[in-house]
Structure formats: C-alpha cells, structure tokens
C-alpha cells in the first residue's frame, strides 16, 4: 500500500518533469534587424520571457497540448502563433511586422488641417489658435494663416480655394451654425462669434470632407466643444476694447459656466485716429452659458447658449454721389443655443443627438431707409456609429433643418415697406464607412442625400477619400466628392424655383511628419456648376435668377511647420497658388472673382523666452493683387489692386497679480504700416466728365493695437 502510494507520487513527479517543454528562438523585424526586449509568452500563463540583446529567447513551460504563443513589442503588430507542446523543444524564427498605427497611423489628411490635443498626428494644437499673431484669438483669422485660404481683409471671413465666403460652413459638434460671424459695417472685417477657448478640437477642411457634412460648396470648419473642464475657475479679462468675466463651476460629473462681456471701441477710437468716420463706435455686450454632464462612463450631455447684441453707426460715401455721405447704422441681435448628447449603446454602437436654435436680427438704417432682417434656424440631428471592428466603422445619420428668413425694407421716399421672406426645410441623410484595409491603407466612402422642401429638389452625392502610407512617417491621400449648397437667401427670397449650387472636388495630398516637423503639399481641382446668376442685384423679378453659372478653381497648397530646429521657436510657412475663374452673379462671362488672389503666403513664428515668461509671436501675410470692378475700364474685372502685406506682432507675458495667474497680452497689426487697398467702389453713375469717380477700400485704421489682461482666480 505504502509502496503503491510512493510509486504514484514518484510517477507524478516524473510526469511533471517529462512534460516540460523548452521554447526558444530569435525575433527580428522583416529586414532582419534583431528586436531586443520583445515580450514572448504563452497566453494565460506565467510562462514567458523577453528577447535578449541578440533577439534570442528561451523559456520552459509545464503546459502541454495546444497553446498560443504571443510575441509583442512596441511599434510592431502583435504576433500570435499556435503551438502543440509535447516535451520536444520548439525552435522558432519570428518576424514582426511594423505597426504603422502606433507611429501615428494612416490617416486621411487630404483637404484637412486638424488642431487637437487628443490625437497625436495633428498639425496644430488648440493653443496655436490663441497664440498666433494677427489672429486676435479669432478662429477664422488663424485659419487664414494656413494654405488654401485667401486673405480678404475687408471681410475677415474665410475664403477657401477660390470659393466665396458663403461656401464655407461652420459646424459645432456636428450642428451647422448659420451666421457664425458678427454683423459688421460695409468694408469693416467681421469676427467669428465663438471663442477658440470653447473648443478642444478644430478641423479645418479646405475640401473633400466627409459625407457627414453638407451645405458647403468649398470648405467646412468643424469644431468640437470642450468636455468637462479640469477645475473650478473664475476668469477676469480687462481689455482695451472692454471687460469680461467668466466663471466655471465643476462638480464630479457636471459643470456649469457663465460668462459676460462688454465691448466698446469708443475710448480706443478717441486715442487712435481712424480712417472711417464713425458716428457711433462699435459697441457690444453678450453672455454665454455652458453646461456639461457626464451621464455615465461613455455618456455626455453638453449644452450652451450664446447671446450678443451689437450696434454701430458711421458715415459712408453715398454711392449715387460720392461727394456726399450717408449715415449707416446697424444693430444686431444674435441668439444661438444647442444641446448635444452622446452615449454608447452596448459595446459597438454610439449614438449622437443634437438640437439647435438660432435667431439673428439685423436692423440697418441706410440714411432714412431701414432694412429689418430676421433669420431663424432650427436643427435636429441623429447620428449612429457602429464600430464593427477596430478596422471598420460605419456611421449614418439624419438631419432636419428649418431656415426662416424675412426682410422688411422701408423706402422713405415712397413711404412703402417691401417684405420678402422664405422658409426652407432641408432634410438630409448620410451613410459612410471608414475602413483600415491594412496598416498602410485606409479608405472612407460614403454618400449624402439632401432634399429641400422650398426648392422641391433633392440630390445625392458620393464622397470618397483614401490614404496610403508610403513610409513610417509619410503618406499620400486622395479625396473626391460632390458638394451641394442651397442658394443664398439673397436670391431665395425672390425666387423659390432655383436649384442647388454644386461643386466637385479632386484633391491629392502628400504629407511627411517626423520629429515635430511637418511638410505637406496638396494639389486640387474644383469645378463649379449651377451657380446662381442674375441680371441686377436685388431684383424682385424671379425670372432674373438662373442656375447657369459655372467656374473652376485649381492650385497648389504648401505647408511646412518646424518645432524642432530652433529651441523654443516654432514656425510655420504656408503658400497657396490659385488659378480660378467663375461666371456667377451678374458677371458678363468668366472672370477672376474679386476675392481671389493668385498668390497667398504666411509666415507664423512663435518664440518662447523662458527667462521673461513671455511668448513673442509674429505673422507676416502676403497676398497678390485682387481684381476689382472698374466701370471706366473696357474689360470686366481686369483691374487689380496692388499686393497686400501685413506684419503683426504680439507678446504674451505670464505673471501673477495678487498671487493669481495672469496673462498680459499686447498685440499690434500691420506694424510696418503698409497702406493696404482691398478694392475700389465706384459711383453708380458717371460724373460730368463721363468717367465714374471712385474711392479705395482701405483698412479701418492703419494699425490695430490691443492690450488685454487676463486673470484666473
């Protein structure tokens, strides 16, 4: 009995010894280079080791039968191999494949510039938007330092690749924002309504964007709002243009913030002489409320509402007789609010919902006449994302947007008020898939459908883009798409029987991004069809409007950014070449539009001086001459302004005031005092000598100074 027990025990020991298997081998990459420090192990066991300096490894295991060997190392795709273990030593030669995903991955970059803190392979950081000289913390002004944009100094809006400003749309968390710019006087540039501090992600697409976004012929500015703030904070800003105050209260899963600001340029205008004859300097006040609530591990409810009221008045040349002036007064009232909810449904589905409302009222006095415009929009949006696998994502969504516009034009000489209005319901839907075919190749393909109840027309368009990684840090991308946009309200209020305007984009992009340097070059061609044409501006006769306009834009955009070569210096250079012509509006034939300049370039430099706790920044912008309409000239739009130059500088000094973190910011535009001319306006009728007198459209002042003190309490 005892012997038997002993035997059994010994047998057990012998068996456990005999079932030990040695697994050994060598790990290299595909070029034969040894991989040192790779993790080699049998799944779900303690048995494993790391490869040594020669790439060799060896370990024993008591496990037997079918087992899975796993080999992993940073920057390489994890390798899994089935082994049948039976005591015989196993010798393996293992080759790991590079994982391009980890080195930034293959990402579709055709047409888009992204600023984000979360993603690695982006060209900009959100902070760049607030520190760029000449930008004055205005998102569109900073985007204007990127290639693909044209400087149009008297508008201040985004003009992209030969497109008019209305062809660029702004989206916040997927919702289209009508009226993203402040209302301003003629020839006075407007600013974006939304502060860059609201967003932690900005994607500026100069074409070829996803089927998720519509109603933009040229470009989309896609903004993603902040998530829960990091902490409770109060901010105070004292600026030469007025004060502001902001408070953010943070709880575990929620936050609420409120801000108020008041702006008045009167004191500034009293100090710095202005080119324009202001009767009332621009004055504005506004407020904003924001809330965030984390409803669960993946659920987030966000909302904000923004209100502003502004007014200004100035004497502007009377276009019927330039020797006289007329008083123009503008009052604007804008309310915008939206709510978004995002959550995960199970493991694979994500739902995103949004609702928004906008109300914009412009009340303009033109001498004794008055124009009262009211525009409202309502939007509802539902998007689902289905994460089929790590490599395939499907998304689809539906949108409804109602736009309601009315204008009352009071003509004092006739004592009559003319009313025009329209309401449009736009229904849209999209489906898109993003597939990472291999670690070198990714593609996105989708389609978008839109139906306008006002136009009684629909359209369906394809959008395709793809990227191929040509090296560890370089890639080529391509994008193609058709883009539709409902004609402007300026025409729809007279003629409801128009069709969508249409553009087709082809974009080819090469990008290399390595060790904090980026180089990219992009060539594109855009064709325009069905642009609205008319005979005379603001004609109430619907028969005057057609969709017979067309045009094209093509060019090359080059971008270089370097944050490495010079210590504490970060700079980027953009250059855009644009060749464009279009026949739209009241053009007699194809011509280069007034907003297009052939060459645009910017150099942006930021220099951090640690000893002074100060960041200095400078931006130089150049644009070659733009066409303008000269009725004295034989040919239409053949005259050109001289080229545009601007050097803007700023300095941000980080300090403390009463132990509170403070930023003092000083900036000045056009330091060198270039006398920029944006175009000429001509009298509507010729003078006694038979020629049309004119005046030049200039900057509202040669330089703009700004001093602000921002305190965090």
């Amino acid at each position: 009995m005892k012997t038997t027990l002993l035997l059994i025990l010994f047998a057990g020991i012998v068996m456990s010894v005999s079932s030990q298997t040695t697994i050994m081998g060598r790990i290299t990459d595909k070029s034969g280079e040894t991989i040192v420090g790779a993790n080699v192990y049998l799944e779900n066991s303690y048995d494993g080791t790391s490869s040594d300096v020669e790439g060799n490894f060896s370990f024993t295991t008591a496990l037997s039968g079918q087992q899975k060997l796993v080999v992993s190392f940073i920057g390489y795709i994890q390798l899994e191999q089935a082994l049948d273990l039976g005591g015989e030593p196993v010798t393996l030669s293992i080759i790991l494949q590079p994982d391009n995903q980890e080195l930034g991955g293959v990402e579709i970059t055709a047409g888009s510039f992204e600023a984000s803190d979360e993603k690695k392979a982006v060209i900009l950081r959100p902070l760049d938007i607030v520190t760029t000289a000449g930008g004055l913390a205005d998102i569109s002004a900073v985007m204007n330092t990127l290639p693909g944009t044209q400087t149009v100094g008297e508008e201040g809006k985004l003009f992209v690749r030969g497109g008019d400003s209305y062809e660029t749309q702004t989206f916040i968390d997927g919702m289209q924002v009508i009226n993203p710019y402040t209302t301003s006087m003629p020839d006075v540039p407007s600013r974006g309504r939304f502060s860059p501090y609201m967003f932690n992600g900005t994607m500026f697409s100069t074409g070829g964007f996803s089927a998720e976004y519509g109603q933009a012929l040229s470009s989309a500015l896609i903004l993603r709002s902040n998530d829960l703030p990091e902490q409770t904070v109060t901010g105070l800003s004292l600026m030469t243009i007025g004060p502001g105050v902001e408070h953010t209260q943070k709880w575990d899963h929620s936050s609420v913030s409120a801000s108020m600001e008041y702006m008045n340029l009167q004191p500034y205008f009293a100090l710095v002489p202005q080119e324009f004859d202001w009767e009332k300097a621009p004055e504005a006040f506004g407020g904003m409320m924001t809330f965030r609530h984390k409803t669960g591990p993946d659920g987030m409810l966000k909302g904000f509402a923004n209100y502003s009221h502004s007014s200004s008045a100035m004497y502007y040349p009377d276009m019927t007789d330039l020797n006289r002036t007329m008083l123009i007064g503008i009052r604007n009232d804008n309310l915008y609010g939206q709510i978004n909810y995002q959550d995960a449904i199970g493991e694979q589905w994500i739902t995103q919902s949004g609702l928004s409302y906008m109300r914009n009222m412009d009340d303009t006095d033109l001498d004794r006449d008055n124009v009262h415009e009211l525009e409202q929009s309502w939007q509802a949006r539902q998007v689902f994302r289905f994460l089929y696998s790590e490599k395939a994502v499907f998304k689809g969504g539906v949108e409804w947007m109602r736009k309601d516009f009315s204008q009352e034009y009071f003509v004092s000489s006739e004592d009559i008020t003319y009313t025009t209005c329209f309401t449009d319901d736009l229904f849209s839907g999209f489906l898109e898939t993003e597939i990472t075919v291999s670690n070198r190749f990714a593609a996105r393909a989708g389609g978008r459908y839109e139906y306008s109840a006002l136009l009684k027309k629909g359209n369906i368009v394809p959008r395709v883009s793809m990227a191929y990684k040509t090296g560890a840090s370089s890639q080529v991308s391509f994008a193609y798409g058709i883009f539709y946009q409902t004609p402007s309200g300026d025409y729809l209020r007279f003629d409801h029987d128009l069709d969508f305007e249409r553009a087709t984009h082809y974009i080819l992009n090469y990008q290399i991004m390595k060790n904090r340097r980026v180089f990219r070059v992009e060539v594109y061609r855009k064709k325009y069809h069905d642009l609205v044409k008319y005979i005379t501006l603001n004609s109430p006769d619907p028969n005057q409007y057609t969709n017979n306009g067309k045009g094209y834009a093509q060019g090359i955009d080059i971008f270089w950014r370097d944050q490495r070569t010079f210590s504490n210096i970060d700079y980027w250079i953009s250059y855009s070449y644009l060749d464009t012509q279009r026949d739209y509006k009241d053009y007699p034939g194809p011509a280069v539009p007034t907003f297009a300049s052939k060459h645009n370039a910017s150099v942006v430099v930021k220099y951090w001086v640690g000893k002074l706790s100060t960041q200095f920044a400078g931006t130089y912008s150049f644009a070659s001459g733009r066409t303008y309409y000269n009725p004295n000239s034989e040919e239409f739009l053949k005259d050109k302004t001289k080229s545009y130059h601007d050097l803007s500088l700023n300095a941000s000094y980080l300090t403390e005031i009463f132990k509170k973190f403070t930023i003092i910011h000083l900036s000045v535009s056009n330091v060198l005092g270039f006398n920029n001319i944006f175009g000429y306006h001509y009298q509507t009728t010729p003078g006694t000598d038979g020629t049309y007198p004119s005046f030049a459209v200039k900057q509202w002042a040669k330089r703009f100074w700004f001093l602000g003190v921002f305190i965090s309490i």
Partner: protein
C-alpha cells in the same frame, strides 16, 4: 517510513502544487524589487514585459497592470527622441486604463494617472504645459480625495508646482508645503497588509525637500 512519505508528499505538494496565489505574490515581489533597480529603457522594458504577462494571467489583479504602466511612463521620461515619448505613454495609458477597469477606487491609480499626464508635457512644453499640468492636478486631487494619506499624490503635486514657473504661482517655495506633506505621509509608513503596493517616490521627495528648504 510514514515520516518519509509525508515529507515527500509535502515536497511534491509544495513544488508542483504551489498555489497560484503564492506564485503571483513571489513573482511580483521579485519583479518589483528588480524594477526599482532598473536604470535604462531596456531594463524597464524587461520588467514591463514580466508585469504584462502577470497582468494577462491574473485578470482580476490591478497591480500588475499598474506596474506595467509605471514602467512605460519611466520609459517615456527616459526616451531620447520626442517622437518616442507618446507611443510609450499611450501604452502606459492602455495598461493604466486596464487597471482602472479592474479597480476604479484605488488612489494609487490616480496618482499614476497624474504622473502620466506630467510625462506628456515633456513632448511639447509650450503647447501642452498648461493643459497637462491641469489634467495632472485633477488626477492627483482625485487621488487625495480617495486617500488623504497617500504620499505620492502630494509628492507629484509638489513636482507639478515646482516645475511651474515662479512667475505664475509655481516655484520651490510654493512646492515646499506639498513636499513636506508628502514626507509626513511617507513617514506614516507604507501601506500595511499588501506588500506589493508601490513604494516609490520617497527618496526623490527628500531630495526635492532639501532643494526647496530655505537656505540660511
């Protein structure tokens, strides 16, 4: 004879039948000790590999994932080229998330999250400094909320303040009370009951204290 059988039985039992828990404790203990001796990226890589294997085999323990993340953060601090830092830290975050999924109430994990955020700053001081030092502060405050006696949370808060320029609320003087508080907590004695818990930080905290103490 009976004694012999018993002895053999015991030997067999204790070698072959070593409970998995004991093996876990032993392997972890030796690897942790080795890890504190690591000085190069390569050495940390070996430790990270061992911890990762432990984490994969012990799916209910957060500690192996914690140390895997810790190793990758250290590798991030040591990386020579700026492009290498983020990939290490991304891996660290993956393992830390894994640990948080196992135990979301462990203060040490928030301490490590704070350190991970701090490590991100070195990639781009100008661009990331403000955002990531705030994120780090947020995570460390969370850790203190869960365990006011945690010394490493105060030590890293001290580091956060210390590396913030004096001009805006940072510098040695402001950091000093935090390093002191960390020292007090270190003196309270390290976590009782589980000798696998992290112990790092004390030595460097003492160095920082010496550096920040006003010199007469």
């Amino acid at each position: 004879m009976k004694a012999l059988i018993l002895t053999i039985a015991l030997i067999v039992y204790s070698t072959a039948g070593f409970s998995q828990k004991d093996q876990y404790q032993m392997t972890m203990r030796t690897t942790i000790d080795k890890m504190y001796q690591a000085k190069t990226v390569e050495e940390y890589q070996l430790m990270a590999n061992t911890f990762e294997r432990m984490a994969l085999a012990e799916k209910k323990e957060w500690i192996p994932s914690y140390y895997t993340a810790y190793c990758y953060i250290m590798m991030g601090f040591m990386a020579e080229k700026p492009d290498q830092i983020d990939p290490y830290l991304d891996l660290a975050q993956k393992h830390l998330d894994n640990a948080l999924a196992i135990d979301s109430k462990e203060a040490e994990l928030y301490v490590l999250q704070g350190m991970l955020h701090q490590a991100r700053i070195s990639v781009d001081f100008m661009g990331r400094g403000l955002v990531y030092s705030q994120k780090a502060q947020g995570a460390l405050e969370e850790a203190v909320k869960m365990d006011p006696k945690n010394p490493r949370a105060y030590y890293l808060m001290g580091m956060n303040v210390y590396s913030t320029p004096k001009m805006y609320g940072g510098g040695p003087e402001t950091a000093l009370p935090l390093f002191r508080r960390a020292q007090e907590n270190f003196e309270l004695g390290e976590t009782v009951g589980n000798d696998l818990m992290p112990t790092w930080g004390k030595e460097h905290n003492n160095q920082m204290l010496a550096e920040c103490e006003p010199k007469n």
